[in-house]
């Protein structure tokens, strides 16, 4: 005799909104509260290397956003089929392929930018943020959420490197995006006024200092304390 079964109306959960509160947090958290560069301290290498001028930094930021979002998407799609023991290598293979694709496309359509960025695009593979997000999020979450998370992390990284590049280029070469700002300011104050550029800012030491100051300002504002 089969036990009596009570029929329950099947309640379907309403599909989560495309930009629900939880999903918005995926994008907004990495911008300040959980910033990959200043809080998690990832991706420092390229934050120092490429930020001497704003233009290559901007292209780098776009390339990183593309690589992180696409790799998060691909790995998330594959997350149930990837064998656990080789997952890091699989992630690496996917990221390396994407980075090579970016390089080839740059070489074909934006050769001048390709020349300026030279090795830096290839070094995106070594950026800890990329692998970090894949391992921490994409391997265990659905594709759309992974894309949002990747986008948020890459945005958090991008605004930090653009800020560092802004100060490094301004203080180190007296220009912003190639526009000679120092010359303009000097011309406003007459012929005897010169603004000296700071050579330290052009080297990675300057980048470290600016990054430190940004971390300091950010943590003062958010009250984040490491435990």
């Amino acid at each position: 005799m089969s036990a009596e079964t009570v029929e329950k109306a099947i309640v379907t959960k309403p599909a989560e909104a495309l930009l629900s509160k939880r999903r918005k947090k995926l994008i907004s958290d990495p911008l300040v509260d959980d910033n990959p560069v200043t809080i998690q301290v990832l991706g420092i290498c390229s934050a120092l290397a490429v930020t001497t001028q704003m233009k290559p930094t901007l292209v780098m930021a776009i390339a990183v956003i593309f690589v992180v979002v696409m790799s998060n998407f691909v790995i998330s799609l594959m997350r149930n089929t990837v064998p656990g023991r080789v997952r890091i290598i699989v992630q690496l293979a996917v990221v390396a392929t994407l980075v090579t694709l970016v390089n080839e496309v740059l070489k074909a359509f934006a050769y001048d930018m390709y020349k300026e960025l030279s090795v830096f695009v290839g070094l995106i593979i070594t950026n800890c943020i990329v692998m970090g997000r894949l391992e921490a999020f994409a391997m265990g979450n659905k594709p759309y959420d992974s894309v949002l998370d990747g986008f948020g992390s890459a945005l958090g990284y991008s605004w930090i490197i653009l800020a560092v590049a802004f100060f490094r280029e301004l203080l180190g070469s007296g220009a912003v995006f190639g526009v000679p700002v120092y010359d303009y300011i000097s011309s406003l104050f007459g012929p005897d006024f010169t603004l000296a550029t700071n050579g330290l800012m052009v080297s990675p030491v300057g980048a470290f200092m600016i990054l430190g100051i940004i971390i300091w300002v950010q943590r003062t504002k958010t009250g984040y304390v490491e435990h």
Binding site: T52, V90, K107, A108, F109
Partner: protein
């Protein structure tokens, strides 16, 4: 189950094949466009030693190609200044010579392209001779093109490029301000010796009275030395060709 060895191996093989196909496919599709981009970039660099960077930037790729076609003719010579038209049965033109690859060969075996800048449509009315350069900077390779006036002594212009110099320091060799320092300098001294042009250490000194010295780049001395060596070496390699052109213009002037 998922974790069995066969599964892992099969998965890895399939993934490798898919990624490999994707990469080689992209390479095939983008290959021709990349070659065009590189060839265009080369032409821009050669023209950069002759006309201003702003003029080049204002031209569309088609215009650059057309301008190059009508104003530049090429010849390839060996270390003795003799023209080379084929090597090992393969036809040789300036476009097929890879200066970077040739850099690795002993100088007797190298091919040296020369780009001759002449009046439009008239290859005999020569304005400048452009010689490619290649050498080592601080971190990686540097290269460029130097334009000589028809007296084969005065520098008409120079373009410099690099593979990985430090932005803001060695990378300044690509600045038009730094390259313009070479205009008007001479490569032969009074006694007829080929001394090339030397970039000095430090920056800010006026060398307008020194025909063989140019102001350096502060903080980028080693890159500057790399440029000096590159210039000296290549002008020496081309010396046979330069001398042959010198004597022919001297005869023509008589």
């Amino acid at each position: 189950m998922q974790q069995s060895n066969t599964y892992i191996i099969t998965f890895s093989v399939i993934l490798t094949v898919i990624l490999g196909l994707l990469l080689s496919g992209t390479s095939q599709v983008l290959g021709p466009m990349q070659k065009e981009a590189i060839a265009l970039d080369n032409k821009k660099q050669i023209l950069g030693a002759l006309i201003s960077g702003d003029e080049i930037a204002a031209m569309s790729p088609k215009e650059v190609n057309a301008y190059y076609e009508s104003r530049v003719s090429t010849v390839v010579v060996d270390i003795n200044g003799k023209e080379v038209t084929e090597q090992d049965g393969v036809a040789v033109t300036a476009e097929t010579v890879d200066v970077a690859k040739n850099y690795k060969k002993p100088k007797e075996e190298r091919l040296f392209p020369v780009y001759i800048y002449h009046a439009e449509g008239n290859p005999d009315d020569v304005a400048n001779y452009v010689l490619p350069l290649y050498g080592a900077g601080l971190w990686n390779a540097i290269w460029g093109y130097i334009a000589l006036d028809t007296d084969m002594n005065t520098v008409g212009g120079i373009t410099l490029a690099h593979a990985g110099e430090t932005p803001g320091l060695g990378a300044r060799i690509t600045d038009s301000e730094v390259q313009s320092r070479y205009v008007g300098k001479t490569i032969y001294d009074e006694s007829g010796k080929l001394v090339a042009v030397e970039m000095q250490k430090g920056e800010g000194i006026d060398y307008s009275n020194s025909p063989h010295k140019v102001d350096g780049m502060s903080g980028a001395t080693i890159t500057g030395k790399g440029v000096n060596n590159m210039l000296y070496n290549y002008l020496n390699y081309y010396q046979a060709y330069i001398e042959s052109k010198k004597s022919s213009t001297a005869v023509a002037a008589l």
